[in-house]
Symmetry: C2
């Protein structure tokens, strides 16, 4: 079982810890305690192997298509974490013998994983083990490991196999050619491999440093090689109270690294550079390397984000820190050619692909907290225009049609075509998202809009932003289908965010977002005419905007936008949803595993029921309140409430994205208790007691959702019509929350209690914002009392 | 520990059994107890998984090159043997709880693997398990498995995951494209995969039948899919004394199967045919299928070979049966396009490639015991002429230069280029065999000669045999190098059977065998001129024999053939061996792992020492005594003895081929005790107490060597100058041995005691043979007394 509020004194609410070892549910801790730095992610698999463990080392951007009939994915690199330990000749495992004082901890503050226990072998030898591990935020290429073993009572013989194991695969799919294995000076191991399709070279170097009772032990180990594997075998005889320490320092470099993306690149440069880096680093030793890493975390992350919650339930503060930790390590902030993977860098799930998850659930954090990283993520989408235009062409449309799943940005659509088994036919089901889940194109335009309005980064717009918004609008203009009878433009045969409804017509979310996208293009086109005709001229040349603008103008106003029904204010999710059969969903609402309904119904059958993965219209309310729709009329609270009450009971939250949105909308309609319980549930997707939810990796979007629920939900922060709105409604259990956001290039620190909101403008440049309908201006510090009843 | 003489009554000396479970040394039993039928080999990995287990299912002939920088190999197919068993929700494993009455047995007579034990779970539930498994010799495509579980005391919940797992690889190299997975009628699972380079389709089908207390339980299991994996989950609640039985029947077919090698082949035919076969077979049930399998073993194998040994040490009879069992299951008797792999079908070692091992160590068994299979194996070499000619051309020679390693026969050389780590430089060492280990070409010519003389199969010679002998002789004629000074033809820069000496000149074995090959061609050419000019004419047209015959004639007599030194009768193994430094080899002679010397010296250093992997000249004595050399003068016993005494102490027997040869030669020189001890050591390569020797698979050649030591050694059977010789010298501990050989198309049953030899000619056609220098003729039965001292 996980114990979340572990840690006392300085460490209070900074530690995720496991107090009992459970060999049948290893995936949970492996994923949620994973280490990383945006360059790489290292699953927190234990040193000693277990049947159900899963070792993953993933590097952002190293996409490869293993075989002709697969899609590209992040390859699982060679493993350096496994230690085969023998005690007096017998395999060491926590499944045997007796374990006491067990504790495994991820310290979020220091981003270090530690494991500690006393173990009595089946033969009665008592030993004390202590493992430490980090993936450096200071040197993005570095993994540090340390094992300390003490014999407590008897003389004992310890032997250890450790090296580099490239027999790893992605659940059987092998991405790498068999590589070269070398051992320099009987101590520096180097493995060089190349991906079999994308031809990316990967070099892993590793070395060990051994001390016994703090004295360095120079010992030539046995050198071993097997296919795709090279390792050293060490043997030690320890006397009682002898302390053995083994440091293992590893570096990883690839030819995809920006510094090697040059014409004169040779694999020998990569070999030499990476080995040199290993030699320099290992010379410093674990403790020194760790200190640099820790300082980087303190300065770049914790001090910058400055997030505090004072809650009766310690879990809330921990959940927020968990969210910030993971948002940091999942994001390739170092390279704007790379995006965020749906399972972060914690597992093979979703193949390292990026979805709308980034723009809707993660990007908002960076837009408000670290605009430089937000810019990098949107620049990734700018590079992706190449792939999006390709996809549009392939599908017979104009402009930029963003892929539902994207890997290397210029590659275009990479959604796999075949999914899980259909329980009725016994066949694999076809995945339609890559063909007809099209709202992502408007979602990205929305993200650009949000970034621009929050950061006021005009340079980004001039270079990248306008081009994205214009070319996506052009896609929609070509995508619309004229309905002669209704005299409206329809969008037929799509999947909306509620993926349980395939091949629907006029999905409300899609139609509204397409409308938004085109209106935004018109607005910015007209703005550029006035403000920057030079820029417009260049874009016109590139994108044929004269003609495009005409199309937007002709069509946008005629898009069919489903209105709330008169009788109950419910907006039809699509043309048919409200006509479908309703069934009792109690069984699935309380499920332990997602997609439980697929064990009883197949896709075709689910398509004919009023059952929803996540409620489309609620996402719409959360997004589009912030902008212009229906002549700038905001959506009324009555409509929100009606739709919430209609759709939520039909929603299985089978998308990890669902709960956070519902939490925000519940807060918007004033139901703070429900919002708080949804926030908790959302936090528990990874951090909760269910042990199998994170096996394939953490849920990046839901981790972004923790932050979103707190900031857009409880703190009530929102961009509305280009202005900052702050409508705080903090939960009963919370006494205080404080955080820093960036508003138009200025840090603004916001502090909220049950009755007051204080705003501190760090650079003393005046800002305007709305609080519960009232407009405030501030250029230094303001405290605003408001009357929330307890 | 293995216990070899297990089995009482009828089963005495028929059973290889393991009486204690050892999770750290699983490879031994997995390999030596593996099941197969020549079509496929299934490693005997336990149903429940362990960290160190290795699952292998290999199909003869399905070669594939996984990646551009690897060599072709037999791919490891999807696994069907793994059962993930949970008892009351907890993983079942013999590493926990308490195990009693454990026994795992391979019954050689029935070719069935069984496992039996009582197990008390960590929570105190007592259960009785019984597993059975066979790979059918009746239906070559079929695997039968059965698990019986009885709850002895308490109600217990058992659940089981079982299906098809294609996440398997060859130590990380993946040969298969991600395939299709289906479940028909919620019970018949089908997985279709294609190799990624050779494009061979493989279809695996499996199904389960469940009974509780002998009543069929129709239960719809949970259906699951993961990447490259499809499985069912069953759940059962057992009351005390309830008996649960699960049968799992599997069929495997591939597009390489002869019946599908046709122009109109479609993968759908393979799907349909294999599923139908599964449905038909599973309908019969395990017991019926097993009965057919058992009868086939009885009729086709045990009665046909009729091999008996009466020894004081039961191990000897068991070792012989072990040899016959493995010779049967390793050999693709069903398809003459396929050869025997060096590690049989029991593991990934040597990649399923065939070496000279077949011709020198295994083929003799089939030549004397089952000529039809011997013909198939030599026909494989005939198909291999395509590859051998390709290799000759690539190396600048004429004729047929057989590959050191061969896979699909027409592909030519497939020896990998890089091997283990060099402990001095840290680099991988280059493997030279594929370039310069050339004696294999003459070894194959010798095998054809032996087959022809023993079987008198003239049809084979006319169609295949002459062509092999002529074109290999042509290779040698083009390979010889004229030494002006010595006025002799030399063969420089080769590796002989003693692979510890690379790049040597005039390796005695190679030179003599090349000489033999050319002389044989001359003899047969001249014979054909007289006896079958039509055949010669056709071959002349194809092989340009007029010119070739001239070359043979010109060169054969001028080949340098190293003679015994006058002072000590030692034949120099090559031009430099006798000049090299000698070192103390005690440490390596007593090693537990082979190649121990490589941990102290690298190849370059070993090349400069008088240390030998296997003694070349001794193999020469064993082979060439049988034929014409030096004007038909037989090699004297004094020369044999001198060379044995010189080379054996320098020989590490680091080739598993080595011991059997030494046993035979020891017997030839009259040292029966030494011969017996070498026979035993040879048997113990796989069947002995060292637990890691067979991890990568059994040693096919050494298994052939067990039979060879008995027949060519103790029974003294030998082909000498085209005539059968029988010089029996059975070991002290043996009272009697009896077996049937085929001599020139007639079964001949030979029975030997310490003082008599009896020969029974089954078809009553007269044969002539030599016994200790005397010639006998017999057309029915003869008993010959001879005077061996006890």
């Amino acid at each position: 079982m996980m114990n979340y509020s572990q840690g006392k004194g300085e460490l209070k609410n900074w530690v995720v810890s496991e107090v009992e070892f459970s060999p049948d549910t290893l995936g949970k801790s492996e994923s949620i305690m994973y280490l990383g730095n945006g360059y790489m992610g290292l699953r927190s698999t234990t040193e000693e192997p277990y049947i159900k463990d899963k070792r993953n080392l993933l590097i952002s951007g190293t996409f490869n298509r293993a075989e002709e009939n697969e899609v590209t994915e992040l390859p699982n690199l060679a493993d350096v974490t496994r230690f085969d330990i023998r005690i007096d000749g017998e395999r060491f495992s926590l499944e045997f013998g007796e374990t006491k004082n067990y504790q495994r901890q991820l310290n979020l503050k220091t981003a270090e994983l530690t494991r500690y226990f006393d173990w009595t072998s089946p033969r009665g030898k008592e030993l004390r083990f202590h493992f430490r591990r980090f993936v450096s935020l200071d040197n993005l290429h570095l993994i540090g490991m340390k094992m300390m073993v003490e014999s407590l009572t008897d003389p004992v013989r310890i032997s250890l196999d450790s090296g580099i194991d490239a027999q790893m695969s992605n659940s059987g799919s092998q991405h790498f050619l068999e590589g070269e294995r070398r051992i320099f000076d009987k101590q520096f191991i180097q493995l060089v491999q190349t991906t079999n399709e994308s031809k990316i070279d990967v070099v892993i170097n590793t070395t060990h440093k051994i001390t016994v009772n703090d004295e360095e032990r120079i010992k030539v180990p046995e050198m071993n090689m097997d296919r795709r594997k090279v390792w050293l075998t060490y043997d030690f005889s320890l006397q009682p109270t002898d302390k053995l320490e083994i440091e293992k320092i590893t570096t990883v470099f690839t030819s995809r690294d920006k510094e090697f993306e040059k014409a004169e690149y040779t694999i020998q440069q990569l070999r030499d550079h990476s080995l040199q880096d290993l030699q320099d680093s290992s010379g410093k030793g674990y403790d020194t390397l760790f200190q640099s890493h820790l300082e980087t975390w303190q300065n770049k992350i914790w001090e910058a984000y400055n997030f505090e919650i004072n809650s009766d339930d310690d879990f809330d503060q921990l959940a927020l820190r968990f969210s910030l930790y993971h948002l940091t390590i999942m994001t390739p902030a170092h390279d704007d050619r790379m995006g965020i993977a749906a399972k972060a860098l914690s597992g093979e799930g979703y193949k390292g692909h990026s979805f709308w998850d980034t723009e809707l659930f993660i990007l908002p954090f960076f837009i408000y907290s670290n605009p430089k990283v937000a810019k990098s993520l949107l620049t990734y989408r700018y590079h992706g225009l190449v792939g999006a235009r390709k996809k549009a062409r392939e599908n017979g449309y104009l402009g930029a049609m963003y892929p539902w799943e994207v890997a290397w940005p210029t590659d275009g659509e990479v959604t796999p075509v075949w999914g899980d088994i259909d329980i009725v036919t016994g066949n694999q089901t076809k995945i339609w998202s890559g063909f007809i889940e099209q709202h992502i194109t408007a979602d990205i335009a929305f993200a650009v809009y949000q970034y621009y309005n929050v950061t006021a980064d005009q340079g980004f717009m001039d270079h990248y932003g306008y081009e994205i918004i214009f070319d996506t609008a052009t896609f929609w203009a070509s995508r619309l289908e004229w309905n002669e009878k209704k005299q409206k433009y329809h969008i037929n045969d799509v999947i909306g965010p509620d993926e349980y409804k395939e091949h629907v017509d006029n999905n409300a979310f899609t139609n509204y977002m397409a409308y938004f996208n085109m209106k935004l293009a018109i607005r910015y086109y007209e703005k550029l005419t006035m403000e920057n005709p030079m820029c417009l001229k260049e874009l016109t040349k590139k994108l044929n905007l004269d003609k495009a603008y005409q199309h937007w103008q002709d069509k946008a106003g005629k898009i069919y936008l489903p209105e709330p029904r008169e009788e109950d204010l419910v907006i039809p999710q699509d043309d048919t949803y409200l006509l479908l059969k309703e069934i009792d969903l109690a069984k699935y609402k309380n499920q332990e595993k997602v997609r439980g309904i697929y064990r009883d119904y197949n896709s075709e059958q689910i398509n004919k029921l009023q059952v929803t993965k996540q409620a489309d219209t609620l996402i719409l309310f959360y997004l589009l309140e912030q902008t212009f729709l229906n002549d700038d009329e905001r959506i009324s609270e009555a409509v929100k409430r009606a739709n919430f009450n209609y759709y939520e009971p039909k929603t299985l939250h089978d998308s990890s994205l669902s709960l956070a949105t519902h939490a925000i909308v519940a807060n918007d309609i004033g139901d703070i208790d429900l919002a708080y319980s949804l926030f908790k549930k959302s936090s528990e997707i990874d951090l909760g007691p269910l042990m199998n939810t994170s096996d394939d990796g953490v849920h990046a979007a839901s981790i972004g959702g923790i932050w979103k629920s707190a900031i857009f939900g409880f703190a009530g922060i929102r961009l509305v019509d280009g202005r900052l709105r702050i409508n705080p409604r903090i939960p009963k259990h919370w006494h205080h929350m404080k955080f820093t956001i960036h508003w138009q290039a200025q840090p603004v620190t916001i502090s909220i209690t049950k009755s007051t909101l204080s705003v501190k403008v760090e650079n003393k440049e005046s800002i305007t914002f709305e609080v519960f309908g009232e407009i405030h201006e501030c250029d230094d510090f303001i405290e605003i009392p408001f009357g929330l009843t307890e």
